[in-house]
């Protein structure tokens, strides 16, 4: 057997090999924790966006339009933000297992801890209205963003399936009819003689509403139920005012 130890010591001396400085490892360790923290925060943002999108949708209308609940869920899930959430949780996991003691934890434990932190923080961000503001910014500033997420707008602007949304612009027509400007700026005459008004609202110009009913022809819609816009649908309120 060669005298390996002596050979290695000679090599260390001859090549002037030095131990890497302590600060290098400390910085590396802090960097790993930093990336872990950033991933968790970004995961929280993603979760708050998921919550915002889910909460602004109406989940009880599937039976009005003859779709199954599962199909509605399948269509409506915010896949873009779900992918981001999974991605950030993945990055958080990868960094956590590369911390000094990270490997001692089970995959499922790290995953659950990361998810719980992201969900909790994401709920706080949602409650503070941050996801709503961010959502509105994304809609306005990021091209094609509205194509990537299923919005309240997509859900309600389906007159052929009996769903319509917009702002009342004229009232006082015969048989309780009124004129509505929908979210795409089209004018509709709404027949509302046998309508159920939900959410303690009365017809007034400038009121933003969602309608369930039946398409009569290109510009006529027979309403059966009318709902107000809810909190978290500010974007539509802004658009409705245009």
């Amino acid at each position: 057997m060669k005298n390996i130890s002596n050979e290695v010591l000679k090599k260390i001396k001859d090549n002037n090999i030095k131990p890497k400085p302590r600060w290098y490892f400390i910085t590396k360790n802090y960097f790993i924790w930093l990336i872990f923290g950033i991933s968790i925060i970004l995961g929280s943002f993603a979760f708050s966006m998921i919550l915002f999108i889910i909460k602004q949708l109406d989940w009880d209308i599937y039976h009005y339009i003859g779709e199954s609940f599962l199909k509605t869920v399948f269509i409506s899930l915010p896949y873009l933000w779900l992918i981001f959430l999974i991605l950030f949780i993945g990055v958080a996991y990868y960094n956590f297992i590369h911390t000094k003691r990270g490997y001692r934890f089970k995959f499922i434990s790290i995953l659950l801890i990361s998810l719980i932190i992201s969900v909790t923080l994401g709920t706080v961000l949602y409650s503070n209205g941050l996801s709503e503001n961010l959502g509105n910014i994304f809609f306005e500033k990021i091209p094609y963003y509205n194509r990537l997420v299923y919005t309240c707008e997509k859900q309600w602007m389906r007159p052929e399936r009996g769903l319509l949304a917009g702002t009342i612009i004229e009232i006082g027509l015969p048989e309780n009819s009124f004129i509505l400007r929908d979210l795409d700026n089209n004018r509709w005459k709404i027949e509302a003689s046998k309508v159920i008004w939900k959410g303690k609202i009365t017809p007034a110009t400038g009121l933003k509403i969602k309608l369930i009913g039946k398409l009569i022809n290109d510009n006529n819609f027979k309403a059966m139920e009318i709902r107000p816009w809810q909190q978290g649908q500010r974007r539509f309120i802004m658009e409705g005012n245009r």
Partner: protein, 193 residues
Amino acid sequence: MITGSECINKTDEQIVALTLKNQDYYLCLMKRYEVKLLNYILKISNTSREDAEDVLQEVFVKAYQNLNDFDLNFKFSNWIYSIAHNTTISAFRKKKVRPQTVSWEDKDLDNILKSTLDVENASLQKLTYKHILKMINQLPLKYKDVLILKFVEGKDYQEISDILHKPMGTVATLINRAKKSLKQELEKEDIKL
């Protein structure tokens, strides 16, 4: 030059601290682990002695370069075994080695067999030992590795966890699966102790 007697009463961790001030102390650490690590590398890689010695040199250099990363809350032996494990795996992944017949001591094989077959004594003919060794070498590396660390190197679950960087639960599962896999092979060949 540091002599062996200067290190004899010192712990690994004390010698690490001394090495950071005077590199000659590193010789003591290398001497302590030279044989153990070479055997470990030989067993998990199943390669030639020359190749294993090259890997061991690389292990010692890497360990020296990363000495400031060694955390006193861990055992030095686990830390250097971990470097040896990773270096061996990456070295032999890079160049596909031709399997060699690495000799094992009978007692090492006995330890594995006793645990696998749950018997008190294992005493077999030389030819059978050779045959069993071939079986162990044919096991997937992850199984062979834990069997070697547990029954040849005598490491406990926490130590294996620190060496392989896997949770203790995973280590326990791997050991059980490795034993089961070897037991199945032994039964297939109708080997009884």
